[in-house]
């Protein structure tokens, strides 16, 4: 009851966006660390993939948790976005940004683009019928990554999508703190800098893989 009442307010919805944002951010970091094992070679990456599958119920718990987080994050975002549209029914003839970043103003572009990308990515490297598996039915992650990124079009899509992820996180990482009420003149400027740096590292790390495939695996 009380949770429902909290969610009724804009402040409560933002808290949900922040809480689910932390989970998604944690996933993105973990996923990056997994991806970077590409550079350890086929055995290491494929063993990592197998070990993940061996987690069994735990893996499914994580998947369902992430799915719930994505759905909550999106529904809060869409509900707030609709409220915000209603709050400004007539538009300015001229509106000049005086203090906001481009990334912060375009969260409702970068977010939905990410949702589309997540769908494509799941098909392209997790679920699609074109993916290779070993005799025991475990995915041959390394071979699939190389085959997938050998197509410059697919690689290009990933590079573009990762740039949007970087923009979303540049604002999102510090925004989480603000939404749950943590802002301090001493720490917030630092958090903002760490947010930009972290977003840049995530983008660079993820983009390096399709780039490496295109350059060295043809």
């Amino acid at each position: 009851m009380r949770v429902a009442r909290l969610y009724d307010s804009t402040v409560g919805k933002k808290a949900v966006m922040a809480a689910t944002g932390v989970l998604l951010f944690g996933f993105v970091i973990t996923h990056l660390l997994g991806n970077l094992q590409f550079y350890l070679g086929p055995e290491a990456l494929n063993a990592y993939g197998r070990n993940l599958r061996h987690l069994g119920a735990l893996l499914w718990a994580a998947r369902l948790g992430l799915l719930a987080a994505v759905l909550l994050h999106i529904s809060a975002a869409v509900q707030l976005w609709r409220l915000n549209k209603q709050a400004r029914p007539s538009h300015y003839e001229k509106l000049t940004a005086a203090g906001s970043s481009y990334a912060s103003r375009t969260m409702m572009w970068s977010g939905p683009i990410l949702a589309l990308f997540i769908g494509y990515h799941l098909y392209h490297l997790t679920l699609g019928a074109h993916l290779l598996h070993d005799a025991d039915g475990f995915p041959l992650v390394y071979q699939n990554v190389v085959a997938g990124f050998s197509d410059p079009l697919a690689s290009g899509l990933y590079i573009v999508a990762m740039s949007f992820l970087g923009m979303h996180l540049m604002h999102g990482i510090w925004s989480m703190f603000q939404s749950i009420g943590w802002n301090h003149p001493k720490y917030t400027p630092l958090i903002k800098r760490i947010a930009v740096l972290t977003a840049a590292l995530i983008v660079a790390g993820n983009i390096s893989i399709p780039v490496a495939v295109l350059l060295f695996h043809q």
Binding site: A87, Y92, A98
Partner: protein, 258 residues
């Protein structure tokens, strides 16, 4: 100097309205922005035209009534300044500017550049007060207030309710205004008894008035004539979450004692 103004003219809340172009050939750089509009209005009235309606009162930056969007920026290009304190020396000869009213569902345009900001009054009524005994004033130092708290409360209390935060926000959110009013009481000892109920009532009132939500982008603090920081909004979020979390039903124990 010559200034060209494209001013939003709207007869009443229900009529559509449009920009009308006015050329002011000899504006003095010593004039305030509102004095320039006074000159334009004199001129319009002499010609038998309808003068431009804009709100103003103190003309010294403390009442909060003089909000105008000047070329897409609330209160114009000079940071930390109301329109009445903005002087024409900050513009160039030949500048062409667009003047519009604040735009928000909760701030209906009454006429031309003037909007109805009474939604703010209703947010204040919902919780922007403290309960004290009336009578002779208590000693100023009877209740100790830590200096940092006093300063933060004073910074928040500097809010003049002009509505620039709502106007500049792409979501027409009243978060900075509401947060300022919540915090300037919530940071002081006298504000503690009502602190949880205050933040809940005022945030709910802000939502009921159909202001948008905060996306933490910071346009509001950039245009606030009193430079109130969005740290204040974080404090409101924290108070709200805490108040919802620690809410408890009224006690039924020991009723009717005595």
């Amino acid at each position: 100097m010559k200034i060209i103004l494209n001013i939003w003219r709207q007869k009443n809340p229900s009529s559509p309205g449009k920009l009308v172009r006015y050329v002011l050939p000899s504006v003095s750089e010593h004039m305030s922005f509102l004095e320039m509009l006074d000159v334009l209005n004199e001129d319009l009235m002499q010609k038998g035209d309808d003068p431009v309606t804009f709100e103003h009162d103190c003309r010294e930056g403390i009442c909060g009534s003089c909000g105008i969007m000047i070329d897409g920026v609330a209160h114009g290009p000079l940071p930390g300044t109301t329109v009445c304190q903005l002087h024409m020396r900050h513009f160039k000869d030949g500048d062409e500017l667009v003047l519009e009213p604040w735009r928000a569902k909760a701030f209906p345009v009454l006429k031309d550049l003037m909007v109805d900001r009474s939604a703010f009054d209703r947010i204040i009524q919902a919780g922007g007060y403290i309960s004290v005994n009336t009578g002779s004033a208590p000693d100023a130092n009877a209740i100790p207030v830590p200096k940092p708290d006093a300063e933060r409360a004073m910074d928040a209390a500097a809010c003049i309710g002009c509505g620039a935060c709502v106007a500049a926000c792409p979501n027409a959110s009243a978060s900075l205004f509401t947060a300022a009013k919540v915090s300037h009481l919530g940071l002081l000892p006298q504000g503690q008894p009502e602190r949880p109920q205050r933040v809940i009532s005022m945030v709910n009132s802000m939502n009921a008035e159909l202001f948008g939500s905060c996306t933490n982008i910071g346009e509001c603090e950039a245009v606030c004539p009193k430079r109130i920081p969005i740290e204040t909004i974080a404090l409101m979020h924290r108070d709200y979450l805490k108040a919802c979390w620690s809410f408890r039903p009224e006690s039924t124990a020991s009723q009717g004692a005595g």
